[in-house]
Each structure stands twice: as C-alpha cells, then as structure tokens.
C-alpha cells in the first residue's frame, strides 16, 4: 500500500481552502461581534436603572464630597474686596494700607451677613489661632469706620504677623492644594516651594503606611489560615464539608460590630485568652492584647477570613482530584505536582481573595477604634474624626482622595500583573 502523503497531494488545495476559511472566519467573527454588540447594548439597557441609581446615590455624592479636597470657596466668597486689593501685592512683607482697609470692609460685611464665624473657622484651619483674632477684630470694627477702622486693624498684632497675609492670599484662591498637601504632610514654604512639615506635626504618611502594613499583615494571615482550610473543605466528604462551610459562614453573617465586641471580651487583660494562656503555662504574666497592634490584627484576621477563603474554595472545588493523580502517575513528586499543577490553577482565586481582603482592610474603622491602641488607628479613624468631630470636611475629603488614589493604583497593579478576566471572585 503506497501511502500518499496528504501534504504532497493537497498542498495547493489546502492553501486555497485556508485563505477561504480565513475570509469566512473573518466575516463570521464580524457577524458575531455585531450580534454580541447588540446583546451587550440590550443588557446595558436592562442595567440602566441600576447604573442611574449608582450614579445618583453613589457616584455623584462621592465626587461632590471629594471635590471639597481641592475646592474651598469660603475665604474667597467672604473676602471679595481683599482679593482685589491683593492682586498687585508682591507677597513680600506687608501689603499696603489699601489691603488693610479692604479687609476691614470685608470683615464688617461678613459680620453684617453673619458669616464671620465661618470665615474665622476656615482661616483657622490653615493658620491655627486665627479664629479668635478674626472674631476679636470683627468686634473692634463694629464701631469703627474709615481711618478708625484702619487703625483698629493695625492695633491687632495678628494682622501684621509674617504668616497672616500669605495665608489670606492663598485662601482667596478657591482652588486650593492646601488640604491635599496637608494629607501628605507637605506644605508651601515662604519661597513658594513645597516642603515637609516639621516632624512633630507629620502624621498622615505614617498613618497611611500603618494602614497598608496592617492590611498586608491581615491579608497574609488570612491566606495562611484560609488556604489549608479551603483545601480541606474542597476535598472533604460532603457531610463534613457542609459543616465546615457553615462554620466559616456563620460568623460571616454576624455583624462586624458584634464580632469586634466579642473579641474585646476575649482579649482583655482578665479575659479568656489571657486566662487560657496562663492556665496552659505559655505565659507567666498577663499580656496586653487589647489596645495593641497584635490584638487588632487577630480580630481583623478573624473577620476577614471568609473573604479570603471563599474565592479560593470556589476555585479549588473546580479542580478534579484526578489531575494530581495523573501528575503522580507521570512521576511528579507530591510537592512538584502541587507547585506545577495545583497552584497555577488556584492562583486566580488566591489573588481575588487576597485583593478583596486587602482593599476591605484599608477601610477598617470600628475594629481599630475599639481594639486598637492609640498608635493603631487607621486612616479611616482620622477621616471619621475630621468629619464628625472637627467638622473639617475638606481635610476628610483630601485624606479620602489620597486613600482612593492609592487603592486604585494597587488595584491597577493587580489587574496589570494578573489580568482582570482571570480574577475569580466567587
């Protein structure tokens, strides 16, 4: 039987067929794309109510709030005459008498309109101590006009202090970099450059680093605890797996506040954790677990464990056990098989779980407030303080903006390294 090689016989035909097939394929894929586009449009139409709701209730409020970080018109609105008078000022020394007179007139207007307090607060955020000086001056100006008003201004030393007028001038610009710079422990110096604030006032960089460190520690801890557990659940007999998954999910359904409170009961000095460790003789003196970094990480790890575990588990379940057996039968040692067959397949689940936990940890607020010590407060605690206590929403917006940028950047790196389509969330 002489076997003709198909290649010898059919080569021209094959080539012709292939180019025809290519053309066909192109038109088919174009048609497919068109069909897909139509589908996508239809599904987008279905999602429109959701998108509108998201934009109205989520997107726009966030943008409005974040815009406060760079847009603060309080001072510019309050001091229109001063803004004009300062237009020609060199920025060196004191401005001329016309600026003093304009400021006096503006202050009187504010007092009449009842906005002097807002102006005082806004100036005070940039120049501590300005608040009472503005209010004091306003009171002095009540009975003074023209030359007398000018003298009243000059009689308050604050208005002739070196840092007062540059602060006012930067404040008359509604678009401000002040809050964003402050959120990074930076400020403008007299020469017009950007410099670090003195070390005893620098705080936010440290808090951002602390937040990332705690988030990374918790992510690592949940991975170390969650990976073997996910493996166990994925490979356990049905009944046992069901019990284990309920054991993981039950705390997941409990309020985060309740779980945090439960940890304070366990971790306190005369609490169960210390009692137990003393009883088994691991420690001889009671540990300070409450109000400490280690207590915070323990509690956060417990709360975040399901977030890391579930994506890993859902991927593990799809890997048939026969693959590993096949690897063994081809001569791979257990570790090699695990490393080359198993890990690459669960990797997307691991990354998804870790990313979920890491990003959620960046926003932790209640747990650090209740379990963390003075030096364990995360950036959200500071944002909350500016919103609720200081009423400085501009500063809160600036810190939120920086946090958002860092988070998006990390997410971008994740997506770049891994490819978003490979992420398997659940």
């Amino acid at each position: 039987m002489s076997a003709l090689q198909p290649s010898e016989l059919d080569r021209p035909t094959l080539a012709r067929d292939r180019s025809a097939a290519d053309a066909d394929l192109k038109s088919v894929s174009a048609a497919l794309r068109r069909a897909e586009f139509g589908d996508r449009m239809r599904s987008l139409l279905l999602a429109t109510p959701l998108l509108v709701l998201l934009a109205l209730s989520f997107g726009i409020p966030i943008l409005l709030l974040l815009s406060r970080a760079v847009y603060d018109p309080t001072i510019a609105d309050a001091l229109p005459k001063t803004t004009v008078a300062l237009a020609g000022w060199s920025g060196q020394g004191l401005p001329g008498d016309d600026a003093f007179a304009a400021l006096a007139a503006d202050l009187k207007d504010n007092q009449a309109k009842g906005t002097a307090y807002e102006l005082a607060k806004s100036l005070n955020a940039r120049l501590p101590g300005a608040r009472s000086q503005v209010l004091k001056t306003v009171r002095k100006l009540e009975s003074a006009d023209g030359q007398a008003a000018l003298e009243a201004m000059k009689s308050v030393p604050f208005w002739s202090a070196p840092s007062t007028w540059p602060t006012i001038r930067s404040g008359t610009n509604s678009l401000t970099s002040f809050y964003l710079l402050s959120a990074l422990d930076l400020r403008w110096n007299a020469a017009g450059g950007i410099e670090r604030v003195p070390p005893e006032q620098a705080i936010f960089i440290q808090v951002f680093l602390r937040t990332f460190f705690v988030a990374a520690s918790v992510t690592l801890a949940t991975l170390i605890l969650g990976f073997p557990l996910a493996y166990l659940i994925a490979n356990a007999p049905k009944g046992l797996a069901a019990i284990l998954i309920v054991a993981v999910l039950l705390p997941f359904w409990t309020s985060i506040l309740v779980r945090t409170a439960a940890w304070t009961v366990l971790l306190q000095k005369f609490g169960l954790a210390n009692d137990f460790l003393l009883f088994i003789g691991v420690i001889s003196d009671r540990l300070d677990l409450m109000y400490s970094r280690i207590g915070l990480i323990i509690a956060m790890t417990h709360i975040q464990l399901p977030f890391t575990l579930l994506p890993i588990y859902s991927v593990m379940r799809t890997i048939p056990p026969s693959q590993m057996k096949a690897a063994y039968s081809l001569g791979a040692r257990p570790f090699t098989a695990f490393r080359r067959i198993y890990i690459p397949q669960v990797f997307p689940g691991v990354m998804a779980g870790c990313m979920l936990t890491f990003i959620l940890c960046l926003g932790y607020y209640i747990t650090p407030a209740l379990i963390g010590g003075a030096s364990d407060q995360l950036i959200s605690n500071f944002i909350a303080n500016y919103v609720n206590v200081e009423l400085n929403w501009e500063m809160a917006a600036a810190l939120s903006f920086i946090l958002l940028v860092f988070t998006l950047a990390l997410f971008g790196i994740f997506a770049r390294v891994l490819g978003l389509d490979r992420l398997k969330l659940v």
Binding site: T115, E200, R210, A374, S375, N385, V387, E390
Partner: protein, 350 residues
C-alpha cells in the same frame, strides 16, 4: 393570615390617628443628648417637670456628641431635633460652621447671672463638671494630694489612666512643670509652650493607659489596671454612691468645664426650645440637676437652691475651689484645638 394583616393595618391606622391627635393637643420638643446616667438625671430634673408644667411632649434621642450628624441634618434641611446637648468646644465649632442658632438671651435669662464662660453665643450652660483625679485607697497606700501627682512616678509608681485627648492633659503638664494656672493658656498659645507640655508628658508616656469613654476610668480603677486615673467627677461619684466602690476624688488642681445645650439651625420648634432653656436656666431649676448627678449649677445665684446633701459633692462647691483650680478656656481650644489634636495624635504614634 389575612385576618392578621387586616388587624395590623387597623392597628397602624389607629396609631397614626392617635399620633396626629396627640400632636394637635401637645407640642413636641425633641431633645438629643449623650445618654447614660447624665441623660437619666436630666430626665428627672428637667424633662419630666417641664413636660408636666407646659403640657409639651418631650421626645428623647441619644447620640455620641459628634456634631457631624447635626451638620448633615442642617445641610440637608431636615432637622428633626429642637435641642442638642454639646461640649463647650463643640459649641464653638457648631457656631463657626453655622449649624447652631445664635441665641437670644432675652428669651432665656440674664446673661451676666451665668458663671463666666458658661453663656456662649450659640450655647447655654447646663451644668459644671470637674476633670479630677481618682484613686483607690486600698491600692495606693499614700494619698495623692493634687491632680499633678499624675506626673510623680517616683512617689506613685504604676499605670495611670488619662483621657486620649490633648485638652486637660496639656494644661496639667504645664502646671506640673511649674506654670501658674493663670498663665497656662498664655504659655500654651506659643510653640515653645506646646513643646514644653509634650516634653513633660513624655516623662510619663510609658506609664499611661488612655481612655476614650467616660465610663472607662471607673472600670480601669475597679479592675486595678491603673493605680490612679483622670475622670469626670460625676462618673467617679456614681461608682462610689451606686456601686459602693472605695474610690477617692482629688479636687486640688481640678479643671472646671461646662456642659452646654444648643438649638440647631432650622429646628422645627425654636419657640418651645427657648421656653425650655428659660425653664432650666431659672436658678431653682438649674440647681435641681445636682440632686440626680453630681454636676453643679451654672447660675451664680443657684447655689442656695442646691439640696444640702448634694452640695459637698459638686465640683464648684466652695471646699473644692479652695485649692488650685483652672477654668477650661473654650476660646483657646476653639483656636488651637484642631491643630493640637493633630499634634497629640502624632505624638501618640511616635
């Protein structure tokens, strides 16, 4: 099932009718306070008698004392409260941010009859309380004689609890460093003064346990986690009287502060709110609170109305003002508060 639903609807309708009818007869005054033993005391001393006298209905709410919530209410134009109790520093902030009403004292009472600093533009004083030192004599063999003994770790070794907040701690640090009470705020207004205060705090930093909530100091003392603690006098007195704890209070070098009450901008019933403010500011009514919690009146002419057994426990009782004391300077904290809180947090983290 259907039967049940019909009954529920009928019930809801009936309740709604009753509420509407009730509103037609009794005016409602909604007061938001910071809860706990202090709100209980206000209920007995003021809410209930006021309601009886005027026929108004008092709706109570609780909050944590943070004005962010009130600011959000005022900015959205939906203000379901008529009165809110606040700390002095918070009154200034709320006043500056334009979320508290500027008060008309003609409707409340003579402004000059209030202790200095307790009648502010946007808030009127409810009571005076003391930041004091408390200890357990069964633990400390030698009794501290001044709040400034906080800084003497040689004579009084062991952990001491202090509030996680710069106010009071910086003042005490300066006084412990030799600054006269009258000069404290002058010194603290300079960068060198702030450095000096923090340097003094540095000397005991490793011995400090920080507290946040007013209930913590008594707990920390009771669990023997600390040998002494700063506290609000009412909380410690409550632990002594109600929980029969053996604690003692040191009044020398106490810092006096005021609790305040304010009307948020856009409140629905400001006239009734003013009526309430006028009611509690009458000297005999102002003195009543002391019978239920050991905080003193803010009217200078109220002392004679205070119940005899309550007087010796008040922070502004003559005996307790015999030693050194300092009146907290609200204006100072309005000026430097935000900056010092930031500096304090940076210092804590170091």
């Amino acid at each position: 099932m259907k039967h049940l639903r019909t009954r529920l609807i009928a019930l809801a309708a009936a309740t709604a009718c009753m509420t509407i009818a009730g509103a037609a007869f009794a005016e409602e005054l909604s007061i938001m306070a910071s809860g706990g033993a202090w709100q209980d005391a206000q209920r007995k001393a003021w809410f209930e008698p006021f309601a009886k006298e005027t026929g108004a209905k008092i709706l109570e709410q609780e909050y944590l004392g943070d004005l962010g919530k009130v600011k959000a209410m005022v900015e959205t134009g939906n203000v379901p409260i008529d009165l809110v109790t606040v700390e002095t520093a918070t009154v200034l902030q709320g006043c500056d941010a334009g979320i508290l009403e500027r008060l008309d004292y003609a409707k409340i009472g003579p402004r000059d009859k209030f202790i200095e600093g307790s009648a502010l533009d946007c808030g009127v004083g409810l009571d005076a309380y003391g930041d004091i030192l408390a200890y357990d004599p069964t633990v400390l063999k030698e009794a501290p004689t001044s709040v400034l003994d906080l800084f003497d770790t040689k004579k009084f070794p062991g952990k001491r609890a202090m509030r996680k907040f710069p106010a009071q701690n910086l003042e005490w640090a300066l006084m412990a460093d030799g600054v006269a009470p009258a000069d404290v705020y002058k010194v603290l207004a300079t960068p060198e003064g702030v450095d000096r205060a923090f340097k003094k705090l540095d000397t005991i930093k490793k011995d400090i346990v920080w507290w946040d909530a007013g209930a913590q100091p008594a707990q920390l003392l009771a669990s023997k986690e600390v040998v002494m603690t700063t506290a609000w006098n009412g909380r410690i007195q409550n632990a002594i009287d109600t929980d029969k704890k053996p604690f003692k209070i040191v009044w020398n070098n106490q810092i006096l502060e005021y609790d305040m009450i304010a009307i948020p901008k856009g409140a629905r019933n400001p006239e009734l709110a003013y009526k309430y403010l006028a009611y509690i500011s009458q000297p005999e009514n102002n003195a009543k609170l002391a019978s239920y919690i050991t905080y003193g009146p803010v009217r200078t002419d109220a002392a004679s109305f205070v119940a005899a057994d309550a007087l010796p426990k008040l922070p502004n009782a003559p005996d307790h003002l015999a030693g050194a004391y300092l009146v907290a300077d609200t204006e100072f904290w309005g000026d430097y508060g935000e900056d010092l809180v930031k500096r304090f947090n940076a210092w804590l983290a170091q």
